[in-house]
């Protein structure tokens, strides 16, 4: 809905051509630095990691200070325990950790005299069936390739999704999320909005099922990400699934993949 609204405003501006944008300097406070946890457990062997960093001042460059020398442990509810070792500054991992579906994982981070804990669940209800594409020249937006994802949503429970498009091996940065409010229990073909593909592009999609806590965190994160035009009346920090005086989240990703080549 926000996109729609932005679109209307944009059309208004186009029509009357009266607006103008400029960079201004706003005096912002500098908040105390906080530890930022960016932790993922997934069923994909290369996507299990904990990145620890610190927040920075708003006008600083985007090189954030790493948190090194922390004790990081992930356990699952079957009793398995994985000690995450620091393989690069602030990057903690363990090659034996591969997320199991239908399993709850618990994270414990001890860094700079602080303990941060959290837990996440890897669901296993739906999977991507296939991808398709068509040439959309209906007039709503510029003519372009439109990619559809096909899968069947589970009707009995709430499902939450995140889609990660990878175009010619390059992972798109944006956070694309969906809940099953409008597709509950149906065999759906859902368009991958805001993803531009050209002729002969190779498009891979990571179709990720997530739990509610992860969804809620990512949803707010996507709204406050720097670069998003903040029309939210009162932006706030996302509600994290971590305890402790920290920022960030612990996400559980149940990933299924698909890929397609756009042939005109």
């Amino acid at each position: 809905m926000k996109a729609l609204y932005t679109y209307i405003i944009a059309l208004w501006l186009l029509m009357f051509n009266t607006s103008c944008e400029k960079v201004i300097l706003i005096d912002l406070n500098e908040a105390d630095q906080k530890i930022v946890v960016d932790a993922i457990v997934s069923n994909d062997s290369i996507q299990n990691y904990v990145i620890l960093s610190k927040s920075g001042g708003f006008y600083q460059s985007n090189d954030f200070e790493a948190v090194t020398g922390a004790n990081v442990t992930i356990t699952d509810d079957n009793g398995a325990s994985f000690v995450m070792s620091e393989t690069a500054n602030g990057y903690y991992t363990n090659p034996t950790l591969i997320g199991q579906l239908k399993t709850t994982y618990n994270l414990e981070v001890i860094a700079e005299n602080q303990t941060i804990t959290g837990s996440t669940y890897l669901p296993d209800t739906t999977h991507l069936d296939s991808l398709s594409y068509f040439w959309n020249s209906s007039g709503f937006g510029d003519p372009a390739w439109f990619v559809l994802m096909h899968w069947s949503d589970e009707g009995a429970e709430e499902n939450f999704y995140r889609f990660k498009p990878i175009i010619n091996g390059y992972k798109e940065k944006q956070i694309i999320l969906l809940d099953d409010l409008l597709i509950n229990g149906i065999e759906t073909q859902y368009p991958l909005f805001d993803v531009e593909v050209k002729d002969y592009d190779v498009l891979e999609v990571e179709f990720i099922e997530i739990d509610k806590g992860t969804y809620k965190y990512l949803k707010v994160l996507s709204e406050i990400a720097s670069g998003v035009n903040g029309t939210s009346a009162a932006p706030g920090n996302p509600l994290s699934n971590l305890t402790g005086n920290s920022l960030g989240f612990f996400g559980g990703y149940a990933i299924s993949k698909g890929s397609i080549v756009i042939e005109p």
Binding site: L14, I26, V36, A225
Partner: protein
């Protein structure tokens, strides 16, 4: 009298009402020691037969005795048997004095003539020159559309809502919004009535225009505080807008052609002096220019609105009169076949005036109000639709008890049906599962009694009591939530089954004490309950904002307002000065929890947070009403803060509409009868906003880090608008057929050209500030300000014949 309501009113409250009514009747009886008679009637305009509202009817040699005509032009005065000179005065009209021998009840209906056929100096004055000082309620402003004719506005579209925001205590909710905030209240706390029908969304085209077409309006009365007991349902203000009746003397047409829209109004008698009607329409056509565009996507775009106002009235004999009025407006926005978005209001009011006796006036109304929006997506084939539907039955009595007491009482029953929205496939095998949020139904009932009491020559009061009640009824599933906003319990309630009740007493009192002939002190207290709430999740007013009724989860909002003020006029009422301050604590305010999902959410009530608020401030107004130069200077110093358990660590934080300084200067200068110029300048402190105080990286994304709610300010806003209006000659020279002398005769065709410049010095006022990665310096973050308007000139041609 109050037993008649299908809802069982609380017995205690009914007896309080009865007691008050009896007291007034009793005191009225006490004073009638001798033979008394009543003079009553209706006052109209002599040229078009419009009822004149607020005409002062005074009695010579009896200081302080008199009456004011009501919304239907009716007045009544009761006096001991004697000879009197009654005088009828109304600003802009010739005062009429009538000698009467009051030895029986007299009906005296009059028509007043415009004091001058040339344009009068522009004034938003009260009806009597010193009304500013003498009237009971300080926090009230009355406007007539004629008064705002020359004030410059965006695209030359004169607009009562925009003009109202130039007054102290009333703030525009910002550029691109017709919303306004009164004394720190939220924009949903304004009760906007069009011929008594509530208007749920007063804006066209995303708020750049209001839905009120000035041509169709007669009278706008804005109450910021000390709201009389006859009004209720919103906490902060009442904007009571009345449509004109239509010319009952002759057929007449008026209209205007502007840069982006045109207007036309037709009015005529149904039967001369017995009934009349008008129909008025307006449509924007800016989008037709899009068709000329080279860009195909622009050519296929639609963006326009239109609205229609219509009204008819007819008098059946001396005592009965019936009015039927309506409004229909629609905004349409679309993109070829693939996308459509339309929204609009519909209102209808059927009224019956009956004069039971020369002292008792009654009005019965049946009112309908509807607001809906629909979004159609052509490609995947679905639509989203939402509707609010209200029916009201309203009975009001006005009893002109005697020369000291003017009593009003009545009751109303309001039903709401809110369908918050649903999404439905409009093609077979759609990709979207249909989703419908359940309808919410409720009933509001209210009864009131108030007395305008002239205690002495120096002291007057308007006091009263309103009892309001609210019933949330099925059929629907009713949810209760735990503290995390998750559903704890679901209960089904059948059709018309009450699942939640609220009720309360709303005492209202306003007192004026004359200090001397030119100055007065005024004070007021009022309490109000609000049972409907607007949930808005964006900074701009959006057609998709959702109205929510109170429920088991949402308690009614409650406010108390205390005001005190000093009013003084100078130099034979040429200058008016007033200073008024207010304090307004508010309870059960609503805000979102972080990350709330509002649209199409069945469980939205679980995503709300509840808190308290406080607003306080002082308003200063200096106004010049006479002479070539007229206008005003308004200044408001105010704070508005909120406190929520779950927001901002339970600390007080400024509300978005917290505007510390707000200045407006409006000046109008009449060079001659044919040339008038005007200018307005506004300045205000930027709204309170939440900006980041840091940033961090997570999931490969740089996110903003927020520390306090609304801890920052938008840049200060200021803007100058100027306008010039050129009138054609209103008179032509003719030879009087009888005397053969040259005389001036009024022309049939009147017209004027209006030129205006919005934002004359091209100030780039911030509409939005976003934080994004620097284009010139990657890895750095910039604050980017978007301004909607630079300088906008416009031209309009208006006519009347």
């Amino acid at each position: 009298m109050f037993n008649f309501t299908p809802l069982s009113l609380n017995k205690l409250n009914v007896s309080i009402m009865r007691f008050l009514l009896l007291t007034i009747i009793f005191s009225a009886q006490l004073m009638s020691g001798q033979d008394k008679f009543t003079v009553s009637g209706t006052i109209k305009d002599s040229t078009d037969g419009e009822d004149l509202i607020g005409v002062y009817v005074t009695v010579a040699n009896l200081n302080g005795v008199g009456a004011v005509t009501n919304s239907y032009g009716f007045y009544s005065i009761t006096l001991p048997k004697d000879e009197y000179t009654i005088s009828f005065s109304y600003v802009g009209y010739n005062t009429v004095d009538k000698k009467i021998d009051l030895d029986k009840n007299i009906v005296m209906s009059l028509e007043l003539a415009n004091s001058s056929e040339v344009m009068k100096a522009l004034d938003i004055t009260a009806e009597k020159e010193d009304e500013n000082v003498t009237n009971t309620n300080g926090s009230t402003v009355r406007l007539k559309p004629k008064d705002i004719e020359t004030i410059p506005v965006l695209f030359g579209e004169k607009d009562v809502l925009k003009t109202v925001t130039l007054l102290p205590g009333v703030q525009s909710a910002g550029e691109g919004s017709s919303g306004f905030n009164v004394r720190g209240g939220a924009s949903d706390q304004n009760l906007i009535l069009l011929d008594e029908a509530p208007v749920y969304n007063a804006s066209h085209l995303l708020g750049f225009f209001s839905v009120f077409n000035s041509d169709a309006l007669k009278d706008i009365n804005l109450m910021k505080g000390g709201i009389p007991a006859e009004y209720g349902g919103r906490l902060s203000s009442v904007m009571d807008i009345k449509m004109k009746e239509g010319n009952s003397k002759k057929f007449s047409t008026s209209g205007g052609i502007g840069l982006i829209s045109s207007r036309l109004l037709i009015e005529a008698p149904i039967v001369k002096d017995k009934g009349s009607f008008f129909v008025s329409g307006r449509r924007t056509y800016a989008d037709t220019f899009l068709k000329l565009s080279k860009d195909s996507s622009r050519r296929e775009s639609t963006l326009y609105f239109y609205d229609i106002n219509a009204k008819a009235n007819y008098s059946f004999g001396e005592k009965d009169r019936v009015f039927l009025s309506g409004y229909f407006g629609q905004d349409k926005f679309g993109f070829g076949e693939s996308f459509g978005f339309e929204w609009g209001n519909t209102t209808g009011t059927l009224r019956w005036n009956h004069i039971y006796s020369n002292k008792l006036f009654s009005n019965t109304s049946i009112i309908y109000s509807n607001y809906d929006y629909k979004i159609t997506i052509g490609g995947p084939g679905f639509e989203i639709a939402s509707v609010i539907k209200d029916w009201t039955f309203k009975q009001d009595y006005q009893w002109f008890a005697n020369d000291k007491h003017n009593v009003k009482f009545g009751f109303n029953i309001l039903t709401h049906k809110i369908s918050p929205g649903g999404i439905n496939s409009i093609v077979p095998d759609g990709v979207i599962a249909d989703l419908n949020v359940q309808d919410k139904r409720s009933v509001e009932g209210a009864a009131y009694l108030l007395d305008e009491w002239k205690i002495s020559n120096r002291l007057s009061a308007n006091y009263g009591l309103r009892y309001s009640s609210f019933y949330a009824i099925g059929e629907q599933d009713v949810y209760s939530y735990n503290e995390n906003g998750e559903i704890e319990d679901t209960t089904y309630y059948g059709k018309n089954e009450i699942f939640q009740k609220y009720h309360g007493l709303e005492p209202r009192i306003a007192v004026t004490c004359m200090v001397d002939e030119y100055s007065s002190m005024k004070a007021s207290y009022s309490r109000g309950y609000q049972y409907l709430h607007l949930l808005s999740n964006s900074t701009t007013s959006s057609p998709t904002d959702i109205w929510m009724p109170s429920s088991n989860n949402i308690k009614p909002q409650l406010s108390d307002q205390f005001t005190v003020g000093y009013f003084r006029n100078f130099k034979d009422n040429t200058y008016e000065f007033s200073v008024e301050s207010y304090y307004k604590p508010m309870n059960n305010l609503i805000d979102y929890r972080t990350g709330a999902e509002v649209l199409l959410n069945e469980f939205v009530e679980g995503q709300l947070a509840y808190g308290v608020g406080r607003a306080y401030g002082a308003e200063i107004l200096i106004r010049k009403n006479k002479g070539k130069l007229t206008g005003w200077l308004g200044y408001t110093l105010a704070r508005t803060e909120k406190k929520f358990e779950d927001i901002n660590s339970a600390n007080w934080f400024p509300a978005r509409q917290d505007r510390i300084h707000d200045i407006s200067i409006v000046a109008m200068y009449s060079f001659s009868e044919k040339v008038k110029a005007s200018a307005s300048w506004v300045y205000y402190t930027g709204n309170a906003v939440t900006f980041p105080s840091g940033k961090y990286e997570v999931d490969g994304i740089v996110a903003n880090y927020y520390t306090e709610r609304n801890g920052y300010r938008m840049p200060d806003y200021h803007r100058l608008d100027i306008g010039v209006t050129l009138y054609n000659d209103k008179f032509k020279t003719a030879i009087d057929p009888e005397t053969q002398k040259e005389i001036k005769v009024k022309k049939k065709w009147e017209s004027n050209w209006n030129f205006s410049v919005y934002n004359a010095y091209a100030r780039e006022n911030a509409y939005q500030i976003s934080f994004q990665e620097s284009e010139t310096n990657p890895g750095q973050t910039d604050a980017v300000q978007l301004a909607l308007f630079k300088i906008i000139p416009s031209i309009a041609y208006n006519f009347k014949f």
